[in-house]
């Protein structure tokens, strides 16, 4: 198995001693099949045990290891070192406060996620003995791609709107709200609308499209947000111009 020397420049920040973050360079020997996360694990185990970062599954499922790699939001477990040349720059996810080194404060996203109620609010509540809520493959396909979201927040790091206007609810939260709105079993759209159809919701988006480009699970939050805009516009017209239609 081939090995090669690489250099990583990692943004370090110790809240107990540092006024601001600064880059620290590590020179290591990596194996061909390593991803950035392997390199960080190697550094932590063999070079510098103080290096802090989040990770869990190492297979692009948990969404914990999102970070900026050469300026792009990536999952460190999906970013192969062989795809990079020169010094690889690793920084915490943009647009989130830095807790320590590559660990960010994600409270803002968690609070927004809660606000959009990303869970089934059944249209018709059935007793348990009445059986499951059934769905056709077509009904499933209507929202399936959005259910692939792993809450990794890469889309927030890619979104300049979120960086400039932090009160914006953001791509993943709106995509997940839309996922449930599109679900044939769900009846919670009216409860989600005040959050996602607000100025700080879908209307803050100016369709940069970066969220969909960086999504490691190929979810299309940009598409979800535009669909929310269209549906909210139809709602407005129905309410103000054709109130008899909205009974």
């Amino acid at each position: 198995m081939s090995e090669r020397a690489i250099e990583l420049e990692v943004l370090r920040y110790n809240p107990e001693t540092d006024r601001e973050p600064a880059f620290q360079r590590y020179a290591i020997t990596c194996r061909e099949e390593w991803v950035v996360l392997d390199a960080l694990n190697h550094i932590k185990e063999n070079v510098d045990p103080t290096l802090s970062y989040r990770w869990s599954c190492h297979m692009a499922v948990c969404g914990s290891c999102g970070m900026m790699i050469n300026g792009e939001p990536k999952l460190a477990c999906k970013a192969f070192l062989r795809e990079y040349t020169g010094v690889i720059r690793v920084e915490p996810l943009r647009h989130f406060p830095v807790e320590r080194d590559l660990v960010t404060v994600i409270d803002d996203f968690m609070e927004k996620l809660k606000r959009v109620r990303p869970y089934l609010m059944p249209k018709d509540v059935k007793a348990l003995e009445a059986g499951e809520y059934r769905q056709t493959p077509a009904q499933l396909n209507r929202f399936k791609q959005y259910s692939m979201c792993i809450n990794c927040m890469l889309c927030y790091a890619a979104c300049p709107e979120y960086g400039l206007i932090p009160k914006y609810i953001g791509p993943a939260a709106i995509a997940l709200a839309h996922r449930w709105n599109q679900d044939s079993r769900d009846g919670g759209r009216a409860a989600r609308q005040p959050e996602i159809a607000a100025t700080e919701g879908a209307w803050e988006c100016s369709f940069v499209g970066a969220c969909s480009e960086v999504c490691p699970e190929h979810v299309d939050p940009a598409g979800a947000i535009q669909q929310v805009k269209i549906k909210s516009t139809v709602d407005w017209y129905q309410e103000h111009l054709m109130p008899w239609l909205k009974k």
């Binding site: 920040y13 809240p15 107990e16 540092d18 601001e20 973050p21 300026g71 792009e72 943009r94 647009h95 406060p97 830095v98 807790e99 404060v105 493959p137 077509a138 396909n141 209507r142 300049p160 960086g163 400039l164 100016s206 369709f207 940069v208 499209g209 970066a210 969909s212 480009e213 299309d220 940009a222 598409g223 535009q226 669909q227 805009k229 269209i230």
Partner: protein, 129 residues
């Protein structure tokens, strides 16, 4: 252990961090040309309403080199704006037939086709053919 999260400032540098942001800003920038052209048309309507002399002043202004350069730029930006938006249309208007979604190319292609037909109709009405 006390917490002291560091908030990194957001500077205008983000625009040049990736070509996608530059493309986006060019699309946003196109509104200046499209908006200016619209204002020019409003002024043209006003001149038309004021009579033959005022209308010929408008036509003379359109023939100046500055106006020609502006129109070439405005057309280029309007085309860029339209092309980028039509290519994004399938995201906003997905069409599901049965289990599957209609291919993106069909949806943006339909937009391009309508655009071509309407443009041809406008040119026809303007006596270009």
């Amino acid at each position: 252990m006390s917490r002291k999260p560091y908030v990194r400032p957001v500077t205008a540098e983000w625009i040049f961090r990736h070509p996608r942001y530059v493309r986006y800003m060019v699309r946003e920038f196109s509104c200046l040309f499209i908006g200016s052209w619209t204002l020019l048309m409003v002024w043209g309507l006003k001149q038309l309403a004021e009579g033959r002399a005022a209308w010929s002043v408008f036509l003379d202004v359109l023939k100046t080199p500055e106006s020609v350069v502006f129109h070439v730029l405005a057309l280029a930006f309007a085309a860029y704006h339209s092309v980028t938006w039509f290519r994004l249309a399938p995201k906003a208007l997905p069409v599901q037939r049965g289990e599957d979604f209609v291919a993106d190319g069909v949806i943006s292609g339909a937009h391009f086709a309508v655009w071509a037909v309407l443009s041809a109709a406008v040119l026809l009405l303007a006596g270009a053919f």
